[in-house]
C-alpha cells in the first residue's frame, strides 16, 4: 500500500454524522483492500498519479474574505451556495432557496432528510468500480443533497461553488454532491470549482451523483477552473429514467493533474443525454476525460462533443466509450472529439471506444487531431484581420462552438468573457497552420 493510500484517510475529517458512519466504514474497507492504479492499468494508461503527494493535511475551515483572496465569484441569477476548502460558507451563500428545491448539507440533515440521503447515496455511482469513489465514500465528512421536488420547474440556475482557499500546507478535500431530480421536474445546476491562489497545493476528490427520475430535465454544468498545483480527480455519474433529459457541459482548465470520469446510464426508455466539454491545458498541465455512455434500454439517444486545445508541453487524454447493451435497440448515439495542438510538444491521446451488442442502432463516432484550417485563416486575412488576431479568433471559435451548447445564457456569457480574456493573453491556446 502506498504512502498516499495509507495516509489519505488520516487527513479525512472525523466529523461525519452518525447515520453516515456505516457508509464510511464500507468505503474504508474498499479503499483499504485496493491498490493505486499504475500505467499498466488500462483506465490509467496515459495518466500517472505521481503528482499525488504522500500525505495531505485536512482542509482547514476556510473562512476567507473573497475580495482579499482576489476571487470574484460570478452571479448567474439564481441561488448560490459556497464552500471554502470543503466547508460551507454561510456568508457567501444565499439564504433563500427557490420553491420546490431542498438543498441540504449532510452535516445538517434532519432525520427524514438523512434517511432520504442514505437511501440514494452511492446508488448511482455504484460500489464496485472506482477506486477514488471508495476514498470519497470513506472520507466523507460533509456533502450536499440537492432534492428537486417532482414537477418543480426551477427557472434560475442553482450555483454550487467549491472554492479552494489558502492554507500553509497541501490539503485535500473529498467533495460530494447528490442530486435527485423528481419526476417531470426541470432545473439547472452549475458546479463550479475554483481556487483562490494558483500556487496552493491541494487535492480534490469530487464525486457527483445525478439521479433523474422519469421525465425530469437537468442542465448540469461542471466548471473545473482550478489551475496549476490543484489536483483534481472527479467523477460524475448520472442515471436517467424514462424520457429524462440530461444536458451536461464540462469545462476544464489544466492543472498538474486533472482527471474526470463521466458516466451516463440510460436506464429508462426514451432518455436523452447531451454531453459536451472543453479542455484547455498548457504549460506542463494534464487533463484527462474518460466518458462512458451506457445504453441499457431501447429508444434512447445520446450526443457527445468534446474539444480540446493543448498547448506548450501539456498533455490531454480523451477516452469516449459508448456501450450499447443487447436490449438497447433503436439507440442513436453520436460521439465526436476534436483536438487542436498549438505546439509540437503538446500531446493528446484520444480514443473512441464502441461496444455494441444490439443490431438495430445508429452510432457515429470520430476523433481528430488537427491544426487551424488554412483556408479559414486566409479568408479572415483577406478582410484585413491580422494573422495573429485571426489565429486567436479561429482558436477561440474552435471551442466557442461547444460553448454555444450551454443553454444558460448568464453562464454562456460568463464563459465567453472568461475565455476570450484568456485567449487574448495566452499564446499557448492559439493554434497556427502548418
Amino acid at each position: 500500500m502506498s504512502d498516499f493510500m495509507r495516509q489519505s484517510l488520516d487527513s479525512a475529517a472525523t466529523s461525519a454524522p452518525p447515520w453516515l458512519q456505516d457508509y464510511l466504514r464500507a468505503g474504508r474497507a474498499r479503499w483499504e483492500s485496493a491498490s493505486l492504479p499504475t500505467r499498466k492499468t488500462e483506465q490509467w494508461k496515459y495518466t500517472g498519479l505521481q503528482a499525488l503527494q504522500p500525505s495531505y493535511a485536512p482542509a482547514a475551515d476556510g473562512a476567507i474574505v473573497l475580495a482579499d483572496a482576489g476571487v470574484e465569484l460570478p452571479r448567474f441569477g439564481g441561488y448560490r451556495m459556497v464552500f471554502v476548502n470543503g466547508h460551507y460558507s454561510p456568508e457567501h451563500s444565499d439564504a433563500q432557496l427557490p420553491v420546490g428545491v431542498s438543498l441540504v448539507r449532510f452535516a445538517n440533515a434532519d432525520t427524514s432528510q438523512a434517511a432520504r440521503i442514505r437511501s440514494y447515496l452511492g446508488t448511482v455511482v455504484g460500489q464496485d468500480q472506482a477506486l477514488f469513489t471508495a476514498l470519497n465514500d470513506a472520507a466523507l465528512a460533509d456533502g450536499v443533497f440537492l432534492d428537486i421536488a417532482p414537477g418543480a420547474v426551477i427557472e434560475q440556475p442553482l450555483h454550487v461553488v467549491w472554492l479552494s482557499g489558502n492554507q500553509a500546507e497541501a490539503f485535500s478535500i473529498n467533495q460530494r454532491l447528490l442530486v435527485l431530480c423528481g419526476e417531470s421536474s426541470s432545473a439547472s445546476l452549475i458546479e463550479h470549482f475554483t481556487g483562490a491562489r494558483s500556487e496552493q497545493q491541494s487535492f480534490t476528490n469530487g464525486v457527483t451523483e445525478l439521479l433523474l427520475e422519469a421525465g425530469a430535465t437537468l442542465c448540469h454544468y461542471r466548471l473545473q477552473l482550478e489551475e496549476a498545483e490543484a489536483l483534481h480527480i472527479g467523477r460524475v455519474h448520472a442515471r436517467l429514467g424514462a424520457d429524462a433529459t440530461l444536458n451536461s457541459f464540462h469545462l476544464a482548465l489544466g492543472s498538474v493533474l486533472k482527471r474526470v470520469d463521466v458516466v451516463v446510464d440510460h436506464s429508462g426508455q426514451g432518455a436523452h443525454c447531451e454531453l459536451n466539454g472543453v479542455y484547455l491545458p498548457r504549460g506542463e498541465e494534464h487533463v484527462d476525460y474518460h466518458t462512458c455512455i451506457e445504453h441499457r434500454v431501447p429508444h434512447c439517444t445520446s450526443s457527445e462533443v468534446f474539444r480540446g486545445i493543448i498547448g506548450d508541453a501539456a498533455t490531454a487524454v480523451f477516452n469516449g466509450r459508448i456501450h450499447i447493451h443487447r436490449d438497447a435497440q433503436k439507440t442513436k448515439a453520436e460521439l465526436s472529439n476534436r483536438n487542436l495542438l498549438t505546439s509540437t510538444r503538446a500531446e493528446v491521446n484520444t480514443k473512441p471506444e464502441l461496444e455494441i451488442y444490439a443490431d438495430d442502432v445508429q452510432c457515429a463516432h470520430g476523433a481528430t487531431v488537427a491544426q487551424l484550417d488554412e483556408m479559414s485563416l486566409h479568408y479572415l486575412r483577406t478582410r484585413g484581420v491580422a494573422r495573429a488576431e485571426a489565429q486567436v479568433m479561429l482558436s477561440f471559435g474552435f471551442i466557442n462552438e461547444v460553448i454555444d451548447t450551454v443553454r444558460c445564457e448568464a453562464l454562456r456569457d460568463y464563459l465567453r468573457v472568461l475565455l476570450t480574456r484568456r485567449f487574448a493573453r495566452d499564446p499557448a491556446l492559439v493554434g497556427s497552420v502548418s
Binding site: Y379, R381, T382, R383, V385, L394, F396, G397
Partner: protein, 249 residues
Amino acid sequence: MLEIENLHASVDGTDILKGLNLSVKAGEVHAIMGPNGSGKSTLGHVLAGRPGYTVTAGSVNFLGQDLLALETEERARLGLFLAFQYPVEIPGVSNMEFMKAAVDAQREQRGEKPVDAVTFMKSARETCKAVDLDPGFLKRGVNEGFSGGEKKRNELLQMMMLQPRLGILDETDSGLDIDALQVVARGVNSMRSPERAFVMVTHYQRLLDFIEPDFVHVLAGGRIVRSGDKSLALELEARGYAWLEDEVA
C-alpha cells in the same frame, strides 16, 4: 489604381497565368470573361495572396504600392476586397465579431479607434437590410449553414461595410437566382464612385445586364486575348468562346 504587368502564376506547379496585363483606373468597372479553366478565378486569388498560388513573374502595382510584396491583410487594409466564389464557412466565429474585427483593422490602418459596438451593430443591421439578409445572420457563425445565395449576399455585406477601393467579384453571379442577382447588382451599383473600381470575373453575360461594365476582357490560356466594351460580352454570348480560342491558337 491597379496595374498588372506580364503576370505569371502557378498553382501546385501548374502554370495558370501566362503573361497577363491589365490596367484598371479609379471609377472604372471591368468585366473579365472566359471559358472554364482559363485562369479567371486564379487572378482574384493571386491578387488576394492565397497560399499555394505562386507568382513566378510579372508585377502588380496597387495604389502606388508593390501589391505582391504585401501580406494578405495588408492588401485588404490598403483597400483590396475579393468577394469569394466559394466563401469559407467558419463555425464558432460569429459573423458580427468577424466583421467588426475587419472594420476595426481598416480603422487602425487609418489611425482611428475601434468603432463602438452599438454604432457598429446599427450600421451592420442597416447594411443587412440593403442586401436583403436577415440581421439574424449576424449572430451566426461566418457563412455557417448559409445557402449559396446567402453566402454571396454576405460577401456583399462585408464589401459594403468595408468600403474598399477595389472590389474583385469572383463569379458572384454563379448560383444566384434573378432576384438575388438584382440585390447584388443594386449593392454594387450603389457603391460605384469615381474613387472606386470593380473587377468582375464572370462566366456569363447575364450579370453585365445589371452591372454595366466600362471594359470587357476575355481571358483564355492565362492571358487576356481580347478587350473591348460591353458589346464584346454580347458577341461572346452569341458566339461562345471557341472562335477566340481558335484565333489565339
